[in-house]
Symmetry: C2
Subunit: 93 residues, 2 copies
Amino acid sequence: MIRLSVYYPTTEGATFDHDYYRDKHVPLAVKTFGLDGAEIDKGVDGPYVAAVHMKFESLDALAAAMSSAADVMADVANYTTITPILQTSEIVD
Amino acid sequence: MIRLSVYYPTTEGATFDHDYYRDKHVPLAVKTFGLDGAEIDKGVDGPYVAAVHMKFESLDALAAAMSSAADVMADVANYTTITPILQTSEIVD
């Protein structure tokens, strides 16, 4: 299994709308990518104000999802001015 | 629920023993902290060579676990020269 994590670094002067993220953006991503769900983090302590973790069956499935990600990417401006950081990882058994 | 994520930034010239991490270190952390388990990431693309994600019932439970973390911290030198980054987050329902 592959995990795609998207991190939003805490940034001086930047905004992040956690409600929009939870209620609109992540559901849009889940629907667009055909996922069962996603786990959302709201930062308490550390470098990130928010994050989301999504699981894909394979790198090919992730690549296929990313090819349909334009609407999801375009929605980012609706909740934050932070440039997200993407991390792709293999989930170790 | 609270997530503690520990990230290991890919660092020029640094080492990371993924086998030791999976077989020895994370099991030590899981046992020491009294967790059901933990999810390990092996980096494929992005800023981190590895990460682990652990769930706690509350910030108090996390704080209690951290108070017994000395042996876990001391074990880090056995698998990496990278200084880990800690992120504490609230898992959003």
